[in-house]
């Protein structure tokens, strides 16, 4: 459930390969188990958890994932020059159980 700092680098990433700056940034990750009481869970996550707790098999347990993201402003190569662009959903800012 905790938001952990993770440094991302994207030179290998096809959709981000023309980014000049920044070369890296903290993108973060959500980690940790989804135990009771479920953090930031919705009805569905609560029901999945109940299902498991009652002893029934579940193909996937609730997972702690990012619920909210921040965009990242970058400068990338575009056509004949450099362009300031906003890349969406780059940095995890809030975690919850789904």
């Amino acid at each position: 459930k905790a938001l952990q700092t993770v440094l991302g680098a994207w030179e290998e990433e096809r959709s981000l390969r023309y980014v000049l700056e920044p070369a890296t940034a903290a993108i973060n990750n959500c980690e940790g188990p989804c135990g009771f009481p479920l953090a930031e869970a919705n009805n569905h996550a609560i029901l999945l958890h109940s299902h498991e707790q009652s002893g029934q098999p579940l193909g996937r347990s609730p997972c702690c994932v990012p619920l909210r993201y921040a965009d990242l402003q970058v400068v990338e190569l575009k056509g004949a020059g450099t362009e300031i662009t906003i890349k969406p959903n780059m940095v995890a800012t809030r975690c919850g159980c789904r």
């Binding site: 000049l20 920044p22 402003q73 400068v75 020059g81 362009e83 300031i84």
Partner: protein, 93 residues
């Protein structure tokens, strides 16, 4: 004492750069960053400015002058922390 940077931007970049500080001709007064940024194209002569202004991307500026030894398809960049330091880039081949 706010940072002052050399300013050069295409119309679309100017829109994004606006929020970084007031523009006055070829000069920008940074609202909140101590960093100037410069993006240059390398060629046969001195590096040609492509985008200059107050820094708008998430990064520190530990250097007082503008230099670089890396490029991507002949474009290079720098950030630096003194007034108008981004007006010229020194290319370290």
């Amino acid at each position: 004492q706010k940072r002052r940077c050399a300013y050069l931007a295409s119309p679309s970049n100017a829109l994004h750069l606006k929020e970084a500080g007031n523009v006055s001709g070829a000069e920008q007064l940074c609202g909140h960053t101590p960093c100037c940024m410069g993006y240059f194209k390398l060629g046969y002569g001195p590096p040609i400015p492509d985008l200059l202004g107050c820094n708008v991307v998430q990064m520190e500026c530990p250097e007082s002058s503008c230099f670089s030894s890396h490029h991507m398809e002949n474009f290079t960049s720098c950030v630096c922390n003194t007034d108008f330091c981004n007006a010229n880039l020194t290319w370290l081949a």
